[in-house]
Subunit: 427 residues, 2 copies
């Protein structure tokens, strides 16, 4: 099936899917979980094929690790589906209700967005996660995975399609695309794809964002900062810096730059240097930092770099204002934290920082849908509209306005015969 036909089929199914009851969607999710387990052998064999081929082609180890989909991964993925079943249906929620006049009522009601285009690199669990999120939120989905995972993706998509359609989900709601040419086409299809969700490396997401008119939910860079204020508890600050940098270095919410107020730099920098040395973190400092501790030099480029590695750039600032300006200039609008005992400084930081997640006295690593208690996570968005920060199911819905009338016409209101009441109704 070519991509235009596939998109048309997904659109047609999505229209029907928008009206499907919660129970039917949850039953379909349960059927997917059950069938994935029932087809375990087939899925794991498909993954072995992909792994063999990738090993023969000398795929790098981290990529092989992401590609691997074993029994443990399968069980985790199934647990993810089961927790998704437990979440409230994001569709059909009344956001506002207003009487416009007697017998003329306005309702703002959540509904699916339509067709979601998902593009991901090697991780096959991303296919399951995002397609079940789309199902729960009533969206059709076009999926394009990495070619190195072609067999696994096909096996997983087959199970999802068969199980969900047998359970009554409209035929065609999920379409798996398999050629590289399809991706190029997808990026241009702003008439039939309503939202793109790219999952993968920064470069990959950035490429998608730069090459499509379709709105993108996600983030490219995660250049996160810890700012240690003059009024910080320095032991707390040290623990937060170590956690933000070292707890997991290869993730988007890990810290990449440390800013320290000059009033405490003399005391704090040696403390933090010692603590980070236990994790073999390389420090790169500004001239003021290098006047206090012996570290490599940070260049202008360092302030713009997401290392995703055991490297931390360090800058001494003269004020909270300078810290805020630095972050707003060099940050990526992802997650930044201040350590201070001074509430008004913290409020100023949180108000003036142009980031999705602004924290006070805790690690940047808390920036995550599961830690936020959102349940299933679509991803973390650094967009300025629609959805920002960790995005749960509600990022896959929008709303419609319903009016329920009894024959009203505008002429009567324009002419003054009738007047609007604009009275709030119970939701």
């Amino acid at each position: 099936m070519d991509i235009r036909t596939a998109a048309k089929a997904a659109k047609r199914a999505a229209i029907q899917l928008a009206a499907i009851e919660t129970d039917l969607k949850n039953n379909a999710l349960q059927a997917i979980a059950d069938e994935m387990w029932a087809h375990k052998t087939k899925i794991l064999e498909a993954n072995e094929k992909d792994l063999d081929f990738s090993r023969q082609n000398n795929l790098a180890l981290p990529l092989l690790k992401r590609l691997k989909f074993d029994e443990k991964k399968l069980a985790e993925t199934i647990r993810g589906i089961e927790s998704l079943i437990g979440l409230p249906d994001p569709v059909g929620v009344t956001l506002s209700a207003r009487e416009l006049d007697e017998g003329l009522e306005l309702y703002q009601i959540t509904c699916p967005i339509g067709v979601i285009g998902v593009i991901f690199e090697s991780r096959p669990d991303a296919l399951v996660q995002i397609s079940t999120l789309c199902l729960k939120s009533g969206n059709g989905v076009l999926l394009k995975g990495g070619s190195e995972a072609a067999h696994t993706n096909r096996a997983l998509a087959d199970v999802i399609v068969t199980a969900s359609e047998s359970a009554g989900i409209p035929v065609g709601w999920l379409q798996l695309l398999e050629t590289r040419e399809d991706v190029k086409q997808m990026l241009k299809m702003d008439e039939s794809i309503d939202l793109l969700v790219p999952r993968g490396s920064n470069e990959f997401v950035k490429f998608i964002m730069d090459n499509s008119n379709i709105p993108v939910l996600g983030h490219a860079d995660g250049i996160c900062h810890v700012y240690v204020d003059r009024d910080a508890d320095l032991t707390m600050a040290k623990n937060i810096v170590v956690d933000a940098k070292c707890q997991y270095v290869a993730v988007c919410n890990a810290a990449e730059t440390l800013l320290v107020h000059e009033a405490v730099a003399g005391e704090f920098l040696p403390m933090v240097q010692e603590a980070l040395s236990q994790y073999e973190v390389e420090l790169r400092g500004c001239p003021k930092t290098r006047a206090i501790i012996k570290v490599n030099t940070a260049t202008e480029e360092d302030w713009r770099t997401e290392y995703l590695d055991t490297i931390l750039s360090v800058k001494v600032v003269a004020s909270t204002e300078e810290a805020i300006e630095h972050i707003n200039a060099y940050g990526s609008g992802h997650t930044d934290t201040i350590v201070t005992a001074n509430q008004s400084t913290a409020e100023q930081f949180m108000k003036l920082l142009d980031s999705s997640n602004v924290f006070w006295n805790c690690s940047t690593r808390f920036s995550d849908g599961f830690r936020y208690g959102l349940g299933a996570e679509v991803g973390i968005s650094t967009s300025k509209i629609h959805a920002r920060g960790p995005v749960g199911l509600e990022g896959l819905v929008i709303y419609k306005w319903h009016i329920r009338g009894s024959g009203q016409i505008v002429k009567d209101y324009a002419g003054g015969t009738r007047k609007f009441t604009h009275r709030s109704l119970k939701k």
Copy 2:
């Protein structure tokens, strides 16, 4: 000032503006209203200059009418600002609040989007309306108006800038752009402009949408439908069709296509033809329509056309499903209404229609921010994300996640020493 410098200045001011108290913003809006009235003569003289020049250049009458900014228009515009002052501040609203653990609290709080790029054609009142909406919602704004209104725009922008900055709004928050080259630049500045709001003709909005990576709030076409179901009260249906088509033909929420169930077409079409003939509406029908009433032929092109004129295309359908399919295929996702006494048919229509506004038993003309009771209106959006249908001030804000902690690090939760409570907090 070149556009990059202007955008930088607006961005810098917007950061400060995000943290400004409601009272200060409202005082600034009052100062703008007062100063506009105080500078009445200057503003009206500037408009006379623009009108003279446009008359000399033989600008079409409807354009001259839009360009005209007289004392009456000024008074209306000022009343608009004063009603905006009365609306609640959309910034700083707590959307959700959750305890993650003891002493670790998550808040989702509304904030301005950042810098809004506004591009409008000849109407100078659009400049005032949108810039005051941006001020109230804490956004910086880059404005580009039509060159035929250059003097009026300059006079209005001068008053707004002087009055607001004297009242304490950060210097540089509003920037007026004046060359055609600026628009081209603007469309490419996705790094510094967060949202575009184009105001003007369909072609104009469509051009903006097709030529920028920046998200656009607005709509191009308004191809609205009235569907008269087999269970409709035909007198009600006739009144709704007349209102939806004729109450104001040149607007986006006027009906362009009438769909009639075949079971009532024989009775209804002659009724509605007679009613519309009093407004000299030209009907263009499908073959089934033409078998019942004598009208011109509708071509495939008619179903896709927003006439904005006294023309209505008419199609007889065999079922509600066919009506829904027609609207989803040819409509513009703006506003569509069903006339029926059958509740389950109405529910089906409202659920399966992929439009921003779906109505039951009332005119499409109700699709409007003021009629919806939203107060000030940014515009009507047919986007599938962020904001849809008539958009009030809340379309100009997004949210940030704040965490207020007391030194927490992720390592403790990952290691199992601490557990998340995920307890809902009072907002």
